[in-house]
């Protein structure tokens, strides 16, 4: 069969690395999950940390309330990391950690856990996500201001290039940009601009002699991308990224080694397009999106993790994640996808698509460069993303963009998949948080406190250093603190005290208004104007995100639409405590409050907000939006919530109409 003109490869290709983004409750429970996944044929690990770990708080911190063990595993110290990796040979495993602001710390814990297993750091393989710019833009788990955050990244790169040579210290993420609404052009341009910022910072950090190391640094930078259901264009996007990357390496950083120039990426396919309505349809979406990153050999993913069909409903169970792993295995082992050279080579359509994307991306990269680079351009990029997302929602609301089961073909049989008591999702035991709090207090009481204090003092000293030299690398005291038994919260707090804390731009101020001529919106504005007459003031809404969840896209869209409907909008961004929300509501004299939570902590946090409002004497309706499982709606309403919106309520103008009605209904007849 495989003669000289055979279209096949001489040998079937090795499949990509298969992972599942997983972790929840405790290190012990997550370790069991990982071992189970590996037994099912998963070939790498992808660790999901909970939000307190991602943002640098211990389980007993006020901000951690309701979030412990929810969207990932809490890892507070070397003991937790050892438990998490127990029985998994770290010298052979390839571990990807979705960790950013606290990446240096988690890598340090991983290095120490490896030491405990007798594995040297030189042998470790894996990736820390460590991309802070996209946290400012889209994901929200930052901890420190931009400049010290970039220093942490550069320090990690400088350290790993020399001491953990098989580690990818950073994964430049375009994934979250698409989740935040980026078009393919924006995804390419912002990711590449971000990479430039990181590489420039590394070159500066490495100082004299950097040029020799730049090839190594460049070769260790990988990407984490997204793939939507328009899989042909998405594939073109990846080809375009590969070309830009190579060009960047050659021209800007003088890299010549072909291996170092290769565009390496892992992928999690799109979650933004997954629907709550008829959730079984998400399976075919996931399959098609996987084609985008596997079809063409020249731009094929190195590692793939797939979302589960029920992500818009809540947290996936092990069985849901197994289904996604099996999708990968069928693709790799049953189909003939791995038997051919690049199947798009010579395709006029593909080449033209790539050229079009390259042209757009180059133009947008130039705009970012004009702003002074990716770090300085964060407010610009954020505003552009909020704008794109608004346009995407408008197209779905108007029916221009078809979403099967959501805005077309909505008739459905009841789904047997969501039939069980929990509604087909994982519910984290609420006792987990109390146990974690007790465990960390025990840990603190049993360790050598003097050693911890000394290690943290040394960390602070290095963080304060000016005119940095190679000796001031933050990784060194970070690893020492991990060894001494310091906790995630202590490490982060030490650095917060030196670096200061930070609130990223919200992007909503920069977002343009909705298209004129939208009739529904015009009607709504008239309604708002009538309400204003009655109230004596323009209707004022507080949009807030309680808890540590940084996924602010939904809240931002609500804020922008409320403004476009003619309301005054107080939007304070992410990471608010219940008392902050209550204080704002009182001081601002708002007429209604909208809260958004996607992390699953609504059962604890929403009642806490309502209590805080009562205490402050604020009596206005509260509406809640987010990933709220059906069975949680009634308890929330009992707690005093006026309305609950979930991903199936995609028509934001309709939500606004409800809110205006709610405010109107609250006006005393005498007024």
């Amino acid at each position: 069969m495989s003669g000289e003109h055979s279209p096949r490869l001489p040998e079937r290709e090795r499949p990509w690395m298969m992972r599942t983004y997983a972790g929840h409750s405790t290190a012990k429970a997550s370790n069991e999950l990982y071992r189970g996944n590996l037994a099912k044929g998963q070939t790498g690990l992808s660790v999901a940390f909970d939000l307190p770990t991602q943002t640098g708080y211990d389980p007993d911190d006020e901000l951690a309330r309701g979030e412990v063990g929810k969207v990932g595993v809490p890892v507070s110290h070397r003991g937790d990391m050892a438990t998490l990796m127990e029985g998994i040979p770290l010298g052979e495993m390839n571990t990807s950690m979705t960790i950013n602001a606290t990446a240096a710390w988690l890598l340090a814990l991983y290095i120490v856990a490896a030491e405990d297993q007798g594995v040297a750091q030189e042998q470790l393989q894996g990736t820390t996500q460590n991309d802070i710019i996209k946290e400012f833009l889209a994901r929200g788990t930052y901890a420190f201001p931009p400049a010290p955050s970039m220093r942490l990244i550069a320090d990690m790169i400088a350290y790993t290039v020399q001491h953990v040579p098989k580690w990818n210290p950073i994964n430049i993420c375009s994934y979250h940009l698409q989740e935040a609404g980026a078009t393919p052009v924006q995804e390419i341009a912002y990711a590449m601009s971000n990479a430039i910022a990181v590489l420039d910072a590394s070159r500066e950090r490495l100082g004299p002699g950097a040029d020799e190391l730049m090839g190594k640094v460049f070769g260790r930078i990988s990407f984490f991308v997204n793939a939507g259901v328009r899989f042909i264009e998405e594939h073109a996007k990846l080809r375009a990224m590969g070309m830009l990357w190579e060009e960047l390496g050659r021209e800007r950083y003088g890299v010549t080694d072909e291996r170092q120039l290769r565009f390496r990426y892992g992928v999690q396919v799109n979650s933004l397009g997954l629907t709550e309505a008829q959730p079984e349809n998400n399976v075919q979406r996931i399959v098609l999106e996987t084609l985008a990153v596997t079809l063409g050999r020249d731009a094929r993913a190195r590692a793939i993790q797939l979302p589960a069909w029920n992500e818009a409903l809540g947290l996936p169970r092990p069985w849901d994640q197994q289904w996604s792993l099996r999708i990968q295995q069928v693709m790799a082992f049953e189909t003939d996808i791995l038997e051919y050279p690049d199947i798009f080579e010579g395709s006029k359509v593909m080449d033209a698509l790539v050229a079009e994307l390259l042209e757009g991306a180059r133009a947008e990269m130039a705009v970012v460069a004009e702003h002074g680079g990716a770090v300085q351009a964060v407010p610009y990029m954020k505003g552009a993303l909020v704008d794109s997302h608004r346009e995407r929602l408008r197209r779905i609301e108007s029916g221009e963009q078809v979403v099967v089961g959501q805005n077309r073909y909505t008739e459905t049989e009841p789904s047997p998949l969501t039939d069980d008591a929990e509604g087909g999702i994982l519910v984290v035991d609420q006792a987990v948080e109390a146990e974690a709090i007790e465990a960390i207090r025990r840990w603190r009481s049993e360790r050598d406190q003097a050693a911890v204090d000394a290690a943290l003092a040394e960390l602070a000293r290095v963080a304060r250093a000016e005119d940095l030299t190679a000796h001031d690398n933050l990784m060194l005291p970070t690893i020492a603190a991990a060894r001494a038994g310091a906790t995630t919260g202590e490490w982060a707090q030490t650095l917060r005290e030196v670096f200061g804390s930070y609130r990223a731009p919200t992007g909503v101020g920069e977002a343009a208004g909705s298209a004129v001529g939208d009739e529904d919106l015009a009607e709504l504005r008239a309604e708002v104007a009538r309400l204003q007459e009655q109230l004596g003031r323009r209707p004022k809404i507080l949009v807030g995100k309680p808890g540590l969840d940084g996924h602010s896209n939904g809240a931002e869209q609500i804020a922008v639409r409320a403004r476009d409907a003619g309301m005054d909008v107080v939007y304070e961004g992410i990471r608010l405590t219940p008392s902050q929300i209550a204080a704002s509501a009182l001081q601002e004299g708002v007429h209604v409050i909208g809260l958004s939570i996607l992390s699953g902590s609504h059962r604890e946090l929403i009642p806490a907000v309502i209590d805080a409002l009562h205490e402050a004497g604020v009596d206005v309706p509260v509406v809640v939006g987010g990933i709220i499982p059906e069975q949680d709606v009634a308890p929330l309403k009992q707690a005093g919530v006026a309305a609950v919106y979930t991903p199936k309520d995609f028509d934001i103008t309709r939500i606004m109409r409800d809110i205006v009605e709610l405010v109107g209904a609250g006006i005393p007849a005498a007024a």
């Binding site: 201001p145 208004g513 922008v560 403004r563 005054d568 939007y571 304070e572 902050q580 209550a582 601002e588």
Partner: protein, 318 residues
């Protein structure tokens, strides 16, 4: 509810800071009933009722977007709280021309302790009003000055349309960032009134900040203003210049003839408010702007602004 306004006024007079939210709800309202209550409230905190000018220091802070006002305000707020001064902050945002709605983003950018009862922050939208302030902001500043040690009014712009802020504030600080050049041009061309304090942010930028400060000082001197201090601040940790700025603001207030400035503010404010409400025709009915000003100058010095507006309206009716 009929004595809501005077009750709130009495609470403010007793320096009850928790009266602030309801005060703002009332002063921002445009319904006839609320305006009556608002007038009663303002009467309670008028100089006549207080027996003196309201003791709080009304500070206007204005500057273009991106100049670093919010970060600066966070730092100033912190400095004031360390001195145990209570602070009310009225942040005025522009409104969307298209929908009339607005995104009030300042609160998100100001770093403060939500459980601190000595801090009150209110965001308002300027709406379609000229002059840079929102409906009710001026009245709110005057009322809150009875209870808070410091009342800050923050607006966006550089000295062109923000005439209102100069009318109401005891001390106006204009915030500029190095390298922008606007402030310099506006000062030289006389578009911008000379502020009481000029603030150059981002002094951590080094040379460019030093030259900005030097150029502004030179421009002020050439305009004959030797008194206006130019303060350089950096809000990045370690912050610098913030205490110096707080001191400069206080120094200005100390050297000020407060009753003269407040009296002028109330009279000018009353006329502005009247003109906003009744337009050019209304002003003509008073015999023109100059005649109105002359008439206002003859009125009792202890009257609050709302009463003055009422009196002007009474004259128009005759």
């Amino acid at each position: 509810m009929s004595d809501q306004g005077s009750a709130l006024g009495a609470r403010l007079r007793e320096r009850d800071l928790s009266a602030a939210p309801a005060t703002l709800n009332l002063l921002e309202s445009t319904t006839a009933a609320d305006r009556e209550q608002a007038a009663a409230l303002l009467h309670e905190v008028s100089p006549a009722a207080l027996g003196q000018e309201a003791p709080g220091h009304i500070v206007g802070i204005t500057g273009p977007p991106g100049a670093g006002k919010s970060t600066l305000l966070s730092a100033l707020l912190h400095a004031w709280r360390v001195q145990a001064k209570s602070v009310a902050m009225l942040a005025v945002d522009p409104s969307s021309r298209q929908s009339g709605g607005s995104l009030l983003g300042d609160r998100a950018r100001i770093d403060f302790d939500p459980s601190d009862r000595g801090v009150f922050i209110r965001s308002t939208a300027a709406g379609e009003r000229l002059g840079g302030l929102a409906w009710g902001t001026r009245a709110a500043a005057q009322a809150l000055a009875a209870a808070f040690d410091i009342v800050v009014i923050e607006t966006v712009g550089v000295g062109q349309a923000e005439t209102d802020i100069a009318d109401v504030a005891d001390t106006v600080a204009v915030v500029v960032q190095p390298g922008s050049g606007d402030a310099l041009q506006f000062l030289k061309s006389g578009i911008m009134e000379i502020p009481d304090v000029l603030v150059v942010t981002k002094s951590d930028l080094g040379q460019v900040a030093i030259s900005a400060r030097r150029d502004l000082s030179a421009a002020l001197r050439s305009l004959g203003s030797r008194a206006t201090p130019v303060v350089a601040v950096s809000s990045l940790p370690p912050a610098s210049g913030v205490e110096e700025l707080a001191a400069a603001l206080e120094e200005h207030r100390k050297n000020l003839d407060l009753s003269e400035r407040r009296l002028r503010a109330r009279r000018a404010g009353a006329l502005t408010e009247f003109a906003n409400e009744h337009g050019l025709q209304g002003v003509r009915a008073l015999g023109g702007r100059t005649a109105a000003q002359t008439w206002l100058a003859e009125q009792d010095q202890g009257l609050d602004e709302a009463t003055l507006v009422n009196l002007l309206e009474g004259r128009m009716g005759r």
